[in-house]
């Protein structure tokens, strides 16, 4: 037992696992510490991460605990910081395209879509309809893949091992389609500025349709394992509750926002690509707890299937690439474009000075902003719930840290 564990004497507070932390007790937390600590021996500061099986990468959460009750948290991020925005300033627009795949690497296609559309907007070109359809199909498949990975890891965090393997089995089929389409499975670099580089391969539509019929019962299978499982209900109901107002104030977007009852989806609110042509619903929750977020994401998978089905049945013929100059030199100006990534609103703010490289490129990462809500969600819960809540926010550290 290290000193901080047993007595909360002030000089020991900063001693977390042997290292002197500059900000062990974050000043912005305003933790209500009573005048005279009552059994402060129970008050521990625990360092969860950056190497911890359940923080989904290298997130480090400093927990202030009273026994097992969480008094406050502080996230320490940046372990995966690669300076994507700085890199963008030294790369041409086309060269930067693959880099965006590395941010949210489980939803690389979505990242690419947002970036390409932002640059297209800046260039004032539009992708041809066929390219839009291909984009929608791949993006929605990727949304499914992302949600499946989320479900697997989230369930694993809560202790159910088996769903992980089921979701990975089914995600594999999506990745196979990606691989056949563009040669890569994870960081796909599927789209180009102005459309798509590759025409769909022969049998693409058949593959996608096969996948649709394959995966629909599998989603029911996941739900069978979890939705009515008593332990799952106990672990997720009323855990990490956040209200819709809090979500809006904290800028939380995506399934977390929708689970809190705010029916807002960029695909409907400000349709981009070909989304205005498809019919789909926005699933929303009521309580804003972990269970609702789970249900919302499960329903989103089904809605994604609906979109893909409509898209693949009505995919038009035509070119897949708009007329884009070989050297991309957008005119001077700035643009903000955002899409509904699996995790929330993914925005790109690009400032062009008329040269071949972005003058400034800002990524608005949904994971980073959503992660801010962690503290609000976990106050007063137990350590085990912190894990569940981190899982339910669905962060990807590559995107948080960029």
């Amino acid at each position: 037992m290290s000193a901080a564990a047993k007595d909360g004497t002030k000089e020991n507070v900063n001693d977390v696992s042997g290292h002197a932390l500059p900000h062990a007790i974050p000043s912005h937390l305003h933790l209500e510490t009573p005048e005279k600590p009552y059994l402060d021996s129970n008050e521990l500061i625990i360092n969860m991460g950056p190497q911890h099986p359940a923080t989904h990468g290298v997130l480090r959460v400093i927990l202030k605990l009273d026994g097992e009750k969480v008094l406050g948290t502080e996230c320490v991020i940046g372990y995966l910081h690669r300076g994507v925005e700085k890199i963008a300033e030294n790369r041409t627009y086309a060269m930067f395209n693959p880099y965006v795949d590395r941010m949210d690497y489980v939803a690389a296609v979505s990242n690419g879509l947002g970036y390409c559309e932002a640059v297209e907007k800046l260039l004032n070109v539009e992708a041809p309809p066929r390219a839009d359809y291909i984009r929608v199909i791949l993006t929605e498949l990727n949304r499914m893949a992302s949600h499946q990975l989320w479900l697997g890891t989230h369930a694993l965090d809560i202790g159910a091992m088996t769903p992980l393997f089921y979701t990975f089995r089914d995600r594999e089929e999506i990745l196979k389609i990606f691989e056949k389409y563009c040669g890569a499975r994870l960081t796909t670099h599927a789209f180009r500025i102005g459309g798509c580089q590759y025409e769909t391969y022969a049998g693409f539509e058949k593959d996608v349709k096969n996948f649709l019929t394959f995966v629909a019962p599998k989603i029911d299978e996941y739900e069978e394992l979890l939705t009515t499982n008593r332990i799952w209900l106990e672990r997720t109901k009323n855990v990490g509750v956040i209200s819709g107002e809090d979500c809006v104030a904290l800028g939380v977007t995506g399934p977390v926002l929708r689970a809190s009852g705010v029916e807002w989806d960029l695909r409907k609110a400000q349709p981009y690509s070909a989304y205005s042509k498809f019919d789909f619903d926005i699933p929303t929750g009521e309580n804003g707890d972990t269970y609702d977020r789970y249900l919302v994401r499960m329903e989103e998978m089904r809605q994604s299937l609906r979109i893909v089905e409509q898209a693949v049945n009505s995919i038009p013929e035509g070119p897949i690439m708009a007329k884009v100059p070989k050297v991309i030199k957008p005119p001077v100006g700035e643009i903000y474009h955002s899409i509904e990534a699996p995790k929330g609103e993914l925005g790109y703010f690009i400032v062009s000075d008329g040269s071949t490289q972005p003058y400034r490129l800002r990524v608005r990462p949904p994971s980073l902003v959503n992660l801010q809500a962690l503290d609000v969600m976990v106050r007063g819960l137990l350590v085990a719930d912190v894990i569940a809540v981190i899982g339910t926010i669905d962060i990807v550290l590559g995107e948080v840290d960029r």
Binding site: A5, I46, F165, R235, L382
Partner: protein, 429 residues
Amino acid sequence: MPNFIMSYLGSTVTPGEAGNQFWALIYVLIIFAAVSLAVVAMNWFERKALAHFQIRLGPMRVGPHGLLQPIADALKLALKEDIIPAEADQFVFWIAPVIGLLAAFTVYTVIPFGPSQAVSDMNIGVLFMLGVSSLGVLGIVVAGWASNSHYPLIGALRSSAQMVSYEVAMGLAVVSAVLMTSMKTGTGTLSMIGIVESQQQQGIWFIFKFFPLGLIAFVNFVIAMIAETNRAPFDMAEAESELTAGYHTEYSGLRWSLFMLAEYAAMIAVSSIAVTLWLGGWLRPFPNLLNAPAWDFIFSLFPGLTFGALAAVAVIGVMRMPVHPYFRVQRIGLAVFAALLGFIALFLLVIALAGRSSDATVAARFRDGIDYVYWFVLKVALFMYLFIWCRATWPRYRFDQLMRVGWKVLLPITLVVLILTAIVGVIVS
């Protein structure tokens, strides 16, 4: 000397009762080896079964179908660097896994694999078992403390609280089984062998006694025993996603493997207790209904047939293996394994046949002994499967929910069952 061995094989009492220290020692060694082997087998089986639950193959490389994987693991663990953290309390850190292991293995001294197939028949067998298995928590608590680190400490506190709470429900469930032993004779018994014998005399496994009281007590005991052994969904102490590995976070190598050994040994021990108390211990199914000598003979063929079936599975595995030089060694290995199983099957069948020819001979006793151990082990194996099944199916409870289940659900239910059992018993007798 063979005569001496044979004379003992024909004995009808346990070595402890016979006051035979030599045979008691042999029994202890046999049980130690067998439990270790069972842990190894359980390890392999768990990995394979869990893998098949999770649409994977599990270990396939080391030996045919990964049969040698546990041995490879054990070797790896034994050869691994043994790290003791600098800040840890050296001595306590060293002694903690030993405490757990000793507690887990000592329970086996009273577990009856048959009417004479036990080290000793203590007349306080059940109490002894409860007490000794409760000592296992000391190893965990002390390990968590000695690691001098937060996660192990929380894991240790969690698991001590958990084990102490579930022990209460477990003990009460056991008491209701003990109450049932007094039904016909008027005086109950705490001896493990006595409990099974009273099931035999009453002609009913206690799980069906006073239906559904016995069943409820049994289910409660099973839940409590899963919690007591820190297995999913009650594996708070070692909740991987929360506390990395709980109390053994800082342990590695051999010492860690001792913890694992203790955990699995404890699993087998509590399963044996459940089998003894509720599932008729070594009794074969329907000993009263199907009690003709012909039925005895048919049931005595079961061990041989089981091993024969296993051998057949192995043979099928050999045949299904691709014909390729890469698989040659594996084919041969699996074939040898199949042959081994076949020989065991043959041996058991021969014993069964030999035991038939004349009753009350040494061969017959030996056959009976094999039968007893077989049925006992089979029932325990079903429990092992239950453990794996639970692990594959359920998410993990949160700590407060776990305590709530223990104190507010299991404890009242077992109390009510205990009182009802007593009332019904008084009314019936």
